[in-house]
């Protein structure tokens, strides 16, 4: 314990001297009214639910307006923040429990503004797009109600100054995603997907609850800022439980951010409409986990409190980015490919935070938001056109839908990290900081991370090459009549494409450090390495790797691919185009072990299903009920059955049941009666005899003895 105290004091000193560095305004009225950001969408959501049907555009209008408002406000805040930083926090007491105060509130600082901005802008575009995509849906209004709730929930989450509100937003996001994923509820599979998402998250949430409880109670408050202050002053017992709190909370984050092994729900979540997937993967939901870690970064960055948590975070992130990337390769469903790619990108972000690269992680989140939204929307527009998710029904679409093609291509470039697209900068930064971290504290995990991040880059490029070639090149294999999507869908694509192209320029080491400025304006100093210039030699490694893998992918799946000649059962060139790409789809890498492994997602889903869910809902639950009926309840029932009075008790309600007892009783009394009768045939005399026998006995008892 003294050791801890010593550590604490050291930390305190360190932080104290760093606190001075922060200089920021309180944002004035702009921050003071920031509560509108979460509140407006929430209210609008309910308005749509009740009045949507009668409003213009059946609710779409209100929803988009709400998101537009958020976008504007978010941008305004961002600008203000960049001009002179904003660090402000407001709280409204909603009740005291013991010494604890429960509060609603909103925190306005770099981090939350980032999320406001992202959710606002991306959300707005997605909503615009959704109008076109959802047209003619049976539950159009309902969709926008829950979609707005979804965005609102996220905003509640990111504006939270304390654990309570964070959890509230957290669960709101969860439940609204449940509604959205299960949007087509006539089909049970979708409901199951929704349940899967909800339950997986719920499991993680349980951990989050525990973590929140531990941290709040050991710090004595729910308030993040308060917790950090007390950390600095060393007036908490947090150090004792720090690791466990950190772990539990991180598990919660893993759930939302679909980190291995909680990733299972995300691909299934594709069951929802594509706009949902887009928003869910870009700005909301999955980013919540990353956001949470970033929000608590002042805690995680201090080993004195979080112990070896960061190593764990790194490992989890790294594993996720690798394995999920691999899964992306074998998917036929285009949305699933993107889903797995999201997960692996999230792996990047988490790992980045793990290695202490706060800015890098968030920067990747930032850029990723744009290009992943872009990719999803583009994919959506494709699906909209060909009425199928499967790439085996696509091919050669570039001439049918050019806009979609080019925007998709930009998105791909950004994702795989081609200079100068957004992904290039953010991913490079992550790899760089991973390398830096590894070179400073050369432990296995660190180098592991470095290697994996490069391998990850390779894989990303590979499956994206596959997607692009199978979707836009070759010949069209579908039945529907492909066509370009309407403007209302393509405009957002273009806008996002623009963002995906330029977003990266916000944070070029040495040149522009706008973004760093942006996210580090927080009440508590972030301790991270600051790059003065790009790590050129890393770029020199990574970019070739990416190009190489793109080339291989193109060779394997592209129109000029040779593979099919050998792969499709010996037949020669007369193989007609249609089978070709299908053949490829089927026959590429039939690597004995790996392929089935990937096909079945490492059997993890099966493990959960057969290992946990089915047993719990089946045998275990049934057993419990059986026990309840036959064992626990047996006590009263048996006493009822055996003991005379209790049996008569039940007999009161069921004469059959009690006849037995009556007979017992009757038999006993009858026996006595019979016994007496053989001595005293007359009943009266039995009575008299009984009485006087009693007299004699009493006399014997009380007089003689």
């Amino acid at each position: 314990m003294p050791a801890v105290v010593a550590e604490l004091s050291r930390v305190a000193v360190f932080l104290q001297e760093n606190v001075e560095q922060i200089d920021a305004g309180d944002g004035g009225w702009l921050a003071a009214y920031a509560w509108l950001i979460p509140v407006v969408p929430m209210i609008v959501a309910f308005l749509i639910l009740f009045f949507g049907k009668y409003s213009p555009w059946k609710g779409w209008g209100m929803a988009t307006a709400a998101l537009g408002f958020v976008a504007v406000y978010g941008t305004a805040l961002a600008v203000a923040n960049l001009r002179d930083g904003i660090i402000a926090e407001f709280s409204v007491n909603i009740g005291d429990v013991g010494t604890f105060a429960i509060e609603w509130g909103w925190v306005v600082d770099g981090l939350s503004i980032l999320m406001f901005f992202l959710v606002g802008v991306v959300g707005f575009l997605v909503f615009v797009y959704a109008n076109g995509y959802m047209k003619g849906d049976a539950r159009y209004t309902w969709f926008f109600a829950s979609f707005t709730l979804f965005a609102g929930g996220m905003l509640v989450l990111v504006s939270a100054p304390n654990f309570i509100q964070l959890i509230v937003g957290w669960e709101l996001v969860g439940v609204s995603s449940y509604l959205l994923i299960g949007h087509y509820w006539e089909d049970m599979d979708n409901i199951d997907a929704a349940n899967k998402a909800f339950m997986t998250n719920k499991v993680a949430d349980a951990a989050l609850f525990i973590g929140a409880v531990i941290m709040s109670l050991s710090a004595g408050t729910f308030q993040f800022s308060e917790i950090f202050t007390r950390m600095i002053d060393g007036q908490t017992v947090l150090a004792q439980f720090g690791f466990w709190a950190g772990l539990a909370i991180f598990i919660g984050a893993m759930g939302k951010s679909a980190q291995f092994p909680f990733h299972v729900w995300l691909p299934d979540a594709m069951a929802g409409p594509t706009p949902v997937s887009a928003l869910m993967h870009a700005a909301t939901m999955v980013t919540a986990g990353v956001y949470l870690i970033a929000r608590l970064f002042p805690f995680y960055q201090l080993p004195e409190f979080s112990g070896s948590m960061r190593t764990i975070i790194v490992v989890v992130g790294a594993v996720t980015l690798l394995f999920m990337g691999l899964l992306a390769i074998v998917q036929d469903d285009i949305k699933r490919v993107l889903a797995y790619s999201t997960v692996s990108q999230l792996g990047y972000m988490v790992a980045a935070l793990g290695v202490g690269a706060y800015t890098a992680g968030l920067f990747h989140l930032f850029t990723h938001a744009f290009f992943k939204a872009l990719l999803f929307l583009a994919a959506g527009s494709i699906i909209h056109a060909v009425h199928s998710n499967n790439m085996s029904d696509m091919g050669g679409l570039r001439k049918y839908m050019p806009v979609t093609f080019w925007t998709f291509l930009i998105g791909t470039a950004a994702l795989v990290g081609i200079f100068p697209f957004a992904g290039f900068w953010s991913k490079d930064e992550i790899i760089a900081s991973a390398y830096f971290n590894a070179s400073n504290n050369p432990e296995f995990a660190a180098w592991f991370m470095v290697v994996l991040s490069i391998v990850g880059a390779f894989i990303t490029a590979f499956y994206m090459a596959r997607v692009v070639s199978l979707t836009f090149f070759g010949t069209y294999l579908g039945d529907a009549k492909p066509h370009e999507s309407p403007a209302i869908m393509t405009v957002p694509l273009v806008a996002l494409a623009a963002a995906a192209t330029t977003a990266g320029l916000l944070n070029i080491p040495g040149l522009t450090e706008v973004f760093t400025e942006w996210v580090t304006t927080r009440a508590f100093p972030i301790v991270e390495h600051h790059f003065t210039e790009p790590e050129y030699f890393l770029i020199a490694i990574v970019t070739p790797v990416v190009l190489l893998s793109l080339f291989i992918g193109w060779r394997l799946f592209g129109p000029s691919s040779e593979l099919h000649y050998t792969s499709t059962s010996g037949e020669a060139a007369d193989v007609s185009a249609p089978e070709r790409s299908v053949a490829v789809e089927r026959d590429t890498f039939r690597i004995p072990v790996l392929y089935p492994l990937l096909e079945n997602k490492y059997y993890i889903d099966d493990l959960y299903m057969n290992g946990i869910v089915r047993p719990t809902m089946g045998p275990i639950a049934d057993a419990t009920l059986w026990v309840d009926m036959n064992v626990v309840d047996a006590v009263p029932n048996l006493t009822a059955g055996v003991a005379k009075h209790a049996a008569a008790a039940v007999g009161v309600i069921d004469d059959n049941a009690v006849d037995g007892v009556y007979n017992v009783a009757g038999a006993t009394t009858g026996a006595i009666g019979g016994f007496l009768r053989q001595f005293f045939p007359g009943r009266v005399q039995q009575y008299v005899a009984l009485s006087f026998a009693g007299v004699v006995i009493f006399a014997a008892l009380f007089v003689i003895f």
């Binding site: 001595f679 005293f680 003689i704």
Partner: protein
């Protein structure tokens, strides 16, 4: 005092002379096989007790017994027997079979045992002064009508109740009330 001394006392012989028949008679009452005989034995038993009372000098009680019982009650019994057409001759089934009588006897003996034990324990061989002259009926009457007037009056109600109720039950109704569950 030894059994010898006891026997030398004349009063005890008188006692035995009266008590033995009384007791035997009462035994016969409960065991006789003939109803009428049984009732007549009852007369002897009660008469014997009356004689014993006289011996103790409580004349009034003694004579009351003679009057009330032998004069009235016994007649009542006989009437009862006549009306209930009990077999006037020997009948075996006047009592329960021996199997029933044995435990009854046992019970009675036990009861007697208890009482006898207690009595002997408490009184030992204390003697009872032989009353030289009989109690005057007058004094009894006086105390009855001063000290015991309440029970006396109440007793009158008891008898009245017994009388009226007895009549109500025993008399044959012109139209007997039909059974009711």
């Amino acid at each position: 005092m030894t059994i010898g001394d006891w026997l030398t006392e004349a009063a005890n012989w008188v006692f035995l002379f009266l008590a033995v028949p009384t007791f035997v008679a009462s035994l016969m009452v409960v065991s006789s096989k003939n109803v009428v005989r049984a009732v007549l034995y009852l007369v002897i038993a009660l008469g014997g007790s009356a004689a014993l009372f006289l011996m103790l000098g409580s004349e009034f009680v003694g004579w009351t017994i003679v009057l009330v019982y032998i004069g009235a009650v016994i007649i009542l019994f006989l009437i009862g027997i006549m009306i209930t057409r009990a077999p006037l001759t020997k009948s075996v089934d006047l009592s329960h079979p021996i199997s029933a009588r044995a435990p009854a006897a046992l019970l009675s003996v036990l009861l007697f045992g208890v009482m006898a034990w207690a009595v002997v324990q408490s009184f030992g061989l204390e003697t009872i002064p032989f009353p030289d002259e009989a109690t005057s009926t007058g004094e009894i009457g006086v105390s009855i009508f001063t000290l015991w007037v309440v029970p006396f009056e109440v007793m009158s109600f008891v008898l009245l109740a017994a009388l009226i109720g007895g009549i109500a039950l025993a008399r044959r109704d012109e139209a007997p009330a039909e059974r009711q569950p």
